[in-house]
Point group: C2
Chain length 332, copies 2
């Protein structure tokens, strides 16, 4: 792969051009750029510049509103409604998290029902933002049917990611962010392109049979991680991200989508909990005793640690040259 | 295995004798009996009569208070503190869930920090009780170190179960209740007794090496289900059940326990969410469309469905005869 060396500043400018030239107003452009740049900064490459062509496709098709102004209102003191105005999620998230945090800091817990939004990024930006307020954060979304429930041979769940962030005052938070599919779709696509097999359990062929051939899985479906237990977690995510917030289940999202290469319309569930109010003073020191035990186990690695290490470097990033050219053409 | 046929009434009387004769007052006896009988009723055998000798052991050692009177108070309108008075969890749960439900029905979401309790049962009794109020329920506890974090070779997590219940008005709720270990400890003990191998990935020997020999795993440790992703879920449970509620992490529980055969002291995290307030009217019908799609997939099975089918029968249950004799002797 040919790469070019770009500073984070240059990555941001490249993305900003693409969004601004394709119908985004300043507020949406800036929020999207922050999402792309922080992904590249952290080495979370599948959610950085890689997503820009998809973002642009749905701006061009008119599916997504580049001038969306998300509205954040309270349904109760602890329930926040975030209406995305059919725009991309980053601006909605930036407007919602401070309202969620204020409610959780006051009441100890609060939830968000986000609707009419298009989520095409990782979930850690929102859960880390919640944790930055000293709160426990949880977020999940669904997508389009790509994953069969364990025991079944037909896709119903999206890749259904879930993120959970734990605040550690004075340190980076502990941040889980994972698809509940056995593998990300992109990983299977790369294996198919390169002619590699994937582990048994990654997915099924179109007939519902286990296979290690990624090309057959792409014609068929993925499986959840971890068998029946992982399937239960995928089901929980689907119910929270759609049923609990009154937005599309994955099957509904697919039926309503124009397949323009961008994400389908969906919802997002967010939860924030105050450990200070729930556990009381001293909670952070108590938890650090646990983290010290964890870190003392050779080979065990806290989720999110790799991203937080990558973040420390302000060196230029190596970016796929072909992708950079493609994004430049989209901005012309 | 020799079995005897007992009605649910007889199972309850058998358990009640054991608890009453070993120091439980009427309120604690009745709550424990309900827990044992509903487990046997649902075919959840590892949490029914099977647990009675362990319950009795900790009553006899004086570790657990058979006359506990759990205190339920509000820390905020949405945060409930449940102090177990060093008794078993069932009475605490029965006193707490109505308070939790009232708060969640009013505010849309509420959480419980339960402390100073001894949890030795399944988690579905509390999440199903939350769902019976029309609310989404989540509960988790930790235990003593039995499970190594993925990549590590030393146990740190408990088997760390999590339960999630989804209300379905007019039907049984959808109820997930699962350990985050690859297998329950009891299953590995049974395989060791019977000389069977267990699947690779179930656990590690004392040196931290993968093995299919259950005897080596019993000297070593279990693994989380589903590799790194399941390990992340086990970590989330540990943080919620201990860090968020200000009670023992699994390693602390083990250090403070008298190893009398009953459970160690611990906490419990509970969460209730109102879909009516979060998603708005029509949420149940919307979700039933999803459940219909799920049920149409051959081979896919909603979590909890087997227990709910078992529940429909009021026929006598076949119970291990040796266990019944043992419980009778404990009641003498």
């Amino acid at each position: 792969m040919n790469t070019v060396s770009l500073t984070l500043q240059e990555i941001g400018e490249l993305a900003a051009q693409a969004f601004a030239k394709n119908g985004c107003d300043v507020a949406n452009t800036e929020a999207l750029v922050r999402t792309v740049v922080t992904a590249e900064r952290d080495g979370s490459l599948s959610h950085g510049l890689f997503r820009v062509p998809g973002y642009v496709a749905s701006l061009r098709s008119g599916k997504v509103n580049g001038r969306a102004s998300p509205r954040v209102t309270h349904k109760t003191p602890a329930v926040i409604q975030a209406h995305g105005d059919n725009g991309y999620a980053p601006l909605l998230i930036e407007r919602t998290v401070p309202v969620l945090a204020e409610a959780a800091q006051k009441l100890g817990v609060a939830v968000v029902s986000a609707t009419h939004t298009y989520h095409f990024a990782a979930l850690w930006p929102e859960t880390e933002a919640i944790a930055a307020h000293g709160l426990i954060g949880l977020a999940c979304v669904c997508y389009t049917p790509l994953v069969a429930p364990a025991g079944g041979g037909k896709p119903l769940f999206g890749t259904n990611p879930i993120s959970f962030a734990w605040p550690r005052p004075g340190r980076s938070p502990m941040v889980i962010d994972m698809a509940t599919a056995a593998k990300a779709l992109g990983e299977v696509q790369v294996a198919a392109r390169d002619g590699h097999e994937v582990p048994l359990g990654t997915g099924l062929d179109a007939g519902g049979k286990l296979t290690t051939d990624p090309r057959e899985i792409l014609k068929g479906m993925l499986l959840p991680f971890g068998g029946h237990k992982g399937s239960a977690i995928a089901l929980m995510v689907e119910l929270l991200a759609a049923g609990a917030v009154n937005e599309n289940f994955s099957f509904e999202a697919a039926e309503g989508d124009n397949k323009d290469g961008g994400p389908p319309r969906g919802g997002e569930f967010m939860l924030a909990i105050s450990p200070e109010l729930l556990a009381g003073p001293g909670w952070a020191e108590h938890c650090e005793k646990f983290f010290a035990r964890f870190d003392a186990i050779e080979g065990a690695r806290l989720p999110g640690a790799r991203r937080h290490r990558n973040r420390l470097s302000d060196a230029p990033r190596q970016v796929n040259a072909e992708l950079v050219e493609r994004i430049r053409r989209l901005s012309a």
